[in-house]
């Protein structure tokens, strides 16, 4: 990396500035690279010779020395999903499964690995984040392993799995009475006031770059090709842009088989759809959602920082955005689990349900290649399912009872669900 650059006015900042916005116009700062210098030392062969972690693409990540935090993160499976493809009526479908990312079971381990490696380089001892849940666990876990103190701020009322998944690591977890946007605003004030390294506030330019690793891995595992379509969940709207940036960087470095023509598709919940609403209405500004209301709590950001860029990118690449109801989210989670054996969190249900809708609407070509980004693990959002999926059928430890059960047919398992619904 060479430094930070304002996405609006181009003003340059040093590469060790813990700053997320341009002090001239409040524009987002983004990491800048010298791609010619990268091209001299980085190739498919460089990548292939390295261990299967996100750091095999380290020249394109903003860490100067050896990464010190999250050294095992990334290189999650890219799965050819033929059974799901058949159910959705498409020819070539893949799942990028960050539900099994190390160590905290979400794609957030990627961004945290970069942000906290950078925090260590910069000498921060206390780090923190504003989180809808997955980031909380990732910051807490990775900070613990790095010996850093962590403040994790979350909205009150998150899923137990997300809360426990942060407190277990000894982080100082603070639940704020309000929604994520309230938490985020508070963290913007805390980070600078205390001089701490908040991964998605003052360390955000570095943090956000970590998401690119998901894109590099997708392209490498497709045989150094960018797919025709990517469907990504959108909360703050950063991931979708970084996936696309990753493909373009590889292309620019001459590492892809063919030019990038990927159309980007963004997935949101109907109860919190500021970005999909912007795309669908062609609005000039992202209208924030005041009171997000969806079971996809990890996507419940009413005022997405990268909403504008995400909506622009979607339109520029010929993609689209949709949002889906809570019932459709549950159906999406079940379809993914029942066809591919992957239990994603609610956000995964959003991605799947939106993909289904876009395919049915003809927005995604049935004969192209499509990658769905699964960003979190279903174990952490169990509350969403408890009342909505079958309970076990209970029998005595008797062969006769089991035989009687089998004779009743498969419906008895669905009836068990209806009885509790």
């Amino acid at each position: 990396m060479t430094g930070l650059k304002c996405r609006l006015c181009g003003k340059l900042y040093g590469k060790d500035e813990a700053l997320n916005f341009c002090t001239d116009d409040f524009g987002p700062l983004e990491v800048a690279y010298d791609y010619d210098a990268v091209a001299r030392v980085f190739s498919r062969q460089t990548v292939a010779a390295r261990p299967r972690t996100m750091w095999r693409y380290r020249e394109l990540l903003p860490v100067d020395g050896e990464p010190t935090v999250g050294v095992h993160v990334g290189c999650t499976p890219l799965i050819r999903a033929d059974r799901l493809a058949k159910a959705l009526g498409v020819a070539e479908l893949y799942l990028k499964n960050d539900a099994v990312n190390h160590p905290s079971l979400s794609f957030k381990d990627r961004v945290v690995a970069v942000a906290l490696s950078k925090a260590v380089e910069m000498g921060f001892q206390t780090v923190g984040c504003a989180s809808t849940g997955n980031l909380a666990g990732s910051v807490a876990a990775n900070a613990a392993a790095a010996g850093l103190d962590a403040y994790v701020l979350i909205p009150e009322g998150l899923e137990q799995g997300k809360v426990l998944g942060a407190t277990i690591y000894g982080a100082k977890v603070v639940a704020v009475r309000g929604n994520y946007d309230h938490v985020n605003r508070l963290c913007s004030q805390i980070a600078f006031r205390y001089g701490w390294g908040f991964v998605n506030v003052n360390l955000r330019p570095f943090y956000a770059e970590g998401s690119k690793s998901m894109g590099y891995e997708i392209a490498e595992d497709l045989g150094w090709r960018a797919p025709d379509h990517v469907v990504a969940p959108m909360a703050g709207g950063s991931l979708i842009g970084k996936l696309h940036k990753a493909f373009h960087e590889l292309d620019r470095l001459g590492m892809l088989e063919a030019p990038v023509r990927t159309r980007m598709f963004g997935a949101q919940a109907a109860g919190c759809n500021p970005i999909s609403n912007t795309v669908k209405t062609g609005a000039r500004k992202v209208k924030p959602v005041r009171d997000p209301d969806t079971i996809a709590k990890s996507l419940a950001i009413g005022d997405p920082a990268d909403g504008w860029f995400a909506s622009q990118l979607i339109q520029e690449t010929g993609g689209w955005s949709e949002d889906v109801s809570d019932d459709a989210i549950i159906d999406g989670m079940r379809l993914l689990a029942e066809t591919e054996g992957i239990w994603a969190e609610t956000a995964g249900g959003v991605t799947l349900a939106v993909a289904k809708k876009l395919i049915e609407e003809g927005r995604i070509d049935r004969d192209g290649s499509t990658v769905l980004c699964i960003t979190g693990n279903g174990l952490k959002t169990q509350e969403a399912l408890l009342e909505r999926i079958p309970q076990p059928v209970v029998i005595k430890p008797s062969l006769e009872e089991f035989e009687a059960l089998v004779e009743q047919g498969d419906e008895v398992f669905d009836h068990a669900r209806l009885a509790t619904a």
């Binding site: 609006l8 700053l19 997320n20 916005f21 002090t23 001239d24 116009d25 409040f26 524009g27 987002p28 700062l29 504003a130 309000g178 994520y180 946007d181 309230h182 985020n184 605003r185 963290c187 913007s188 004030q189 600078f192 006031r193 998605n200 506030v201 955000r204 909360a235 703050g236 709207g237 950063s238 500004k285 209208k287 924030p288 005041r290 950001i301 005022d303 997405p304 920082a305 990268d306 504008w308």
Partner: protein
């Protein structure tokens, strides 16, 4: 008089202050008075007459986009906070 809270990285443009009293009965008036006191802040907050895309403004705890934007009323004891929009996610 209403008080405006300045984001820490912009304090050099605001005489090193973290809170500044500014007169006015709407957000627009209060920010205009702030701009008269500290012209360097004004040019950073506004693009012409409009608040820049990545600047969020709150009155007490409410985003003015959910109220009446620059016409949002501000009381004598209210706090107007300027918060950079590019955080989180």
């Amino acid at each position: 008089m209403p008080v405006v809270r300045i984001p820490t990285p912009l304090r050099p443009q605001a005489g090193g202050l973290d809170k500044i009293e500014a007169a006015g009965s709407t957000v627009g008036e209060v920010l205009a008075d702030l701009g008269r006191q500290h012209p360097a802040i004004r040019e950073r907050l506004f693009d012409g007459a409009e608040i820049r895309r990545f600047v969020n403004v709150y009155v007490n705890n409410e985003d003015v986009r959910f109220l009446d934007d620059l016409d949002t009323p501000v009381g004598e004891k209210d706090e107007v906070a300027i918060i950079p929009a590019v955080a989180g996610g």
